[in-house]
Symmetry: C2
Subunit: 218 residues, 2 copies
Amino acid sequence: MRISQLSATSGVPIPTIKYYLREGLLPSGEQTSATRAEYGEAHVRRLRLIRALLEVGRLPIASIGRVLAAVDDEKLSMHRVLGTAHYAIAPAVAPHADDEDWRRARAEADRLISDLGWRIEPWAPTRNELAQAVHTLSSLGMPATGEALQPYAKAAAALVEHEIDTIPLDGPRETAVEALVVGTVVHGRVLDVLRRLAHESASARVFEIGDTEQDRSA
Amino acid sequence: MRISQLSATSGVPIPTIKYYLREGLLPSGEQTSATRAEYGEAHVRRLRLIRALLEVGRLPIASIGRVLAAVDDEKLSMHRVLGTAHYAIAPAVAPHADDEDWRRARAEADRLISDLGWRIEPWAPTRNELAQAVHTLSSLGMPATGEALQPYAKAAAALVEHEIDTIPLDGPRETAVEALVVGTVVHGRVLDVLRRLAHESASARVFEIGDTEQDRSA
């Protein structure tokens, strides 16, 4: 298809497509004449993935480039490609190696992960992200031991058993990575708001809201 | 205690305490002389709550003022006070009432909530937040029906049953609201990173990572 049709099919404006081509995020089409290039389904899939990484993952162009490079690197296993996407969408957390409390938090995070028997790379940035949350909890005087976090780990593991099956692993790598990023980010938001909704409902129950309020909130 | 001791006890600098006093976030102490005021435990609790709303809830001063006003309004039930805090930490989502897809997403969100039998105020901003996530999922061609989101609702409900007991409801309202905000926000982060960690581990299992990699990530 021509670039105009690629734009129509993908919903991505032509100037944006040209920008992605210049940035090397989108491979160039097959040159059929000096002024004309042909694009195919692979380009449509790639544009969908770029859009997902940009709009849902909210990744900067540089990080998107790294994820796409992993997708294109045939030497990388699918596990490594998905891992690259996971690490790219993880909020950057700098370790405070000089802070004793932080080192304790990181040790607690690592202990929880190994107690769960989870296979996580030692250099996974998500280890620092978990350590940061543990650090915040303990600095606020909230329970922050692995035991205290077990219910969350169990809930996460149960959800992932369900989610991992929804990622299409037999198709093109772009499709799997797109499903991973969208599923992780948007379902994360879904889970977060449902938790707060469940809280409101539990609070209504605990405080035995009268019928009038029940009717209003029914 | 004097303001200097209040600062030492709470870890909040004196100029910041004076700013909170000017903004009316912190009630003034008992004037014991023209230049001296006495502060008590209530001020320490209030400063802890302001810090939690500011640093953990990342709320603007105006929203903090609304939450504190609810805490101080004896006419408001504890349920209303907690609700005010919940709605304050919810990301603002503007309804696109003129967008047919959005109206469908909002209807789907409301249906899920009533199917779950949850007691949620009709005007709860969290309803729009859930609708927004449903809208994003369907616009990306992902399953976005109430059925598809049931696993997340079940996980959220199970966690909340556990969390609601950790909120001290017999003590001062400040303490309950602080526990609610910190618990909701930080445990939300914990759950989010644990989901991504569980994903990496599940992916390692699915793709049968070899022993060397297992050892490296052990």
